[in-house]
Symmetry: C2
Subunit: 329 residues, 2 copies
């Protein structure tokens, strides 16, 4: 199956968003290289605008909305987390109005971050159904375009620019490790990677309980319904099911081997990021670090040169997970 977007669209996204997002550095750590016994290349999306890679996909989708509809009435999305901030930021870059639907009870600091970018906040009930309904209602009343966090090809192409930059700097990577939630980033990275360097493998890194590997191996959606959230400290990657649009792309372009990381392991990875790289990274990034340093030998002929996506750095400093959990690390 050819993907509904390819390297061409990723390159176009790169040109489109380059004025709005950072080209983030690729970091090395001799210390972690020697722990891992291989060469690691960390793509520091924790240093991205809004503190996570989400700014890339959001900027691509929102700027495209503006290109296609110069008189667009704006955009709307639902997310109290990284995607909500990213769409608010992207709308400000594009000069478009923006509404962000968040559940009642969202912490003040998250609400402030979204409002600081000039977006309107709309509160809904905490259920997934209420979020979707409120979002759809705003869209149908105002004509605003809904920007889905992952099941949107423009968003995926935007996230693919991560791989474009990484492979330009390290063309001979053997593998890339990507934390996965809905699959937008992994899809974008997989499509771009296979377009640039077909021998480079893209491995998803999942929180324990996602059960992605058996789905990818059977190419069937074997998750329980209705869709659930995973019980994990990594709040950026709690969605169990990947998207309906991302799943076929993952089956085609990502490896059917998934690294499964427990919360304790994520915390260990996060602390390695803080201590050895002096980087503030969120738990999902910690999962990728852990996979790179400790799990990668699960793969036969483990790769020598490995890209590791530090997907974001938005942590609550007053509730760092090694303090809020009972076990000590």
């Amino acid at each position: 199956m050819p993907a509904p977007f390819g390297l061409k669209e990723v390159r176009e996204a790169y040109m489109r968003i380059s004025g709005c997002v950072h080209r983030t550095p690729v970091l090395k750590s001799q210390n972690l290289d020697s722990l891992a016994g291989r060469q690691l290349y960390f793509k520091a999306e924790n240093l991205q605008k809004t503190g996570s890679f989400k700014a890339r996909g959001a900027c691509n989708a929102v700027l495209l909305e503006k290109e296609k509809r110069p008189n667009s009435p704006g955009v709307v999305t639902h997310s109290s987390g990284n995607h909500g901030q990213a769409v608010a930021y992207a709308a400000r870059c594009a000069g478009l109005p923006c509404s962000v639907v968040v559940p009642k009870g969202t912490p003040q600091v998250k609400c402030d971050a979204i409002r600081d970018y000039g977006a309107e906040l709309v509160f809904c009930e905490a259920s997934p159904a209420s979020r979707n309904e409120t979002c759809a209602e705003i869209s149908s009343k105002t004509g605003r375009a809904v920007i889905h966090p992952f099941d949107n090809f423009d968003v995926m192409a935007g996230q693919g620019t991560i791989a474009l930059e990484l492979l330009e700097e390290v063309p001979d990577l053997d593998a890339v490790l990507v934390p996965i939630s809905g699959g937008g980033m992994t899809s974008g990275i997989a499509v771009a990677t296979k377009g640039m360097q077909p021998n480079c493998k893209v491995y998803p890194v999942e929180p324990y309980g996602k059960l992605l590997q058996r789905c990818l191996q059977s190419k069937q959606r074997m998750w329980p319904n209705p869709p659930q959230f995973i019980d994990t400290i990594a709040d950026a990657i709690r969605t169990q099911q990947v998207g309906n649009l991302t799943f076929p792309i993952l089956c085609e372009y990502a490896e059917p081997k998934v690294f499964t990381i427990t919360d304790d392991q994520m915390i260990e990875g996060m602390k390695l990021g803080f201590e050895r790289m002096k980087m503030v990274v969120e738990a999902a990034s910690g999962a990728a670090i852990y996979a790179a340093v400790k799990s990668i030998e699960e793969v036969d002929a483990a790769p020598e040169k490995v890209g590791v996506i530090l997907c974001g750095g938005n942590v609550d400093l007053d509730h760092l997970p090694w303090f809020s959990r009972k076990t000590s690390y």
Copy 2:
């Protein structure tokens, strides 16, 4: 008074140590620029080898020891903190034996860090006198050169390379903010800065209780004796008195205006570094961030383009100061 070393020695140090230390990046943060209302340029020594700027001075002094005495029996110092690690690292780079004297009761993690660089640990009593005596005893028995943490011109010249790199990247800086303890880094930076860009002012940033400003203004050592430690969370800058060799240099080349930062303010600065820059920085770096963002208007005609030295990133993640103190931030 001409300094006993100048820009020439700093440039020589740069050539000497460049194979052993990182050229650290100069970071920008639009977020902190807009909070500060000016342009800030953060010199990220938290990303330096051993996690602090101390690697520069230690490498210069230890490599010079090797140049001057090709059959040198090695080096010795006393420090359980950043300087101890830095000298151990420098000795490994130079291929010289190294002893590091630390007080009994030094946390295991700090001992391990020094041992991991191949240095021999020697335990002494916790008093300053015992540290100095043990160090002197080892030196006289073995012939090893004592590497003082700040009262050593080779160490100062090594620290001066921070300014060399910073001013090469941002030649039109109006000021540099430098966290100060014994004054080795501030002396090195002040000498190099005045040699390269005489109009650029070098301001020390001190923990509350150091009382440096009145000493610099009167050019007299007005501190109480015997020398004391300051009660501050910033364990890297607890020494109250600057050195006998650094003091005259500071009087000549640094501004007689000192920014005084309380522990609460340092924590605020540290959290800005974590949250807005995604950088793990220690409390002394937090002092400089706080001074840049909140205190700089204490100066008439406050500078527009300001260098901020993030001197280190060695924090104990299990005892971050906003958790270990009672007040909430």
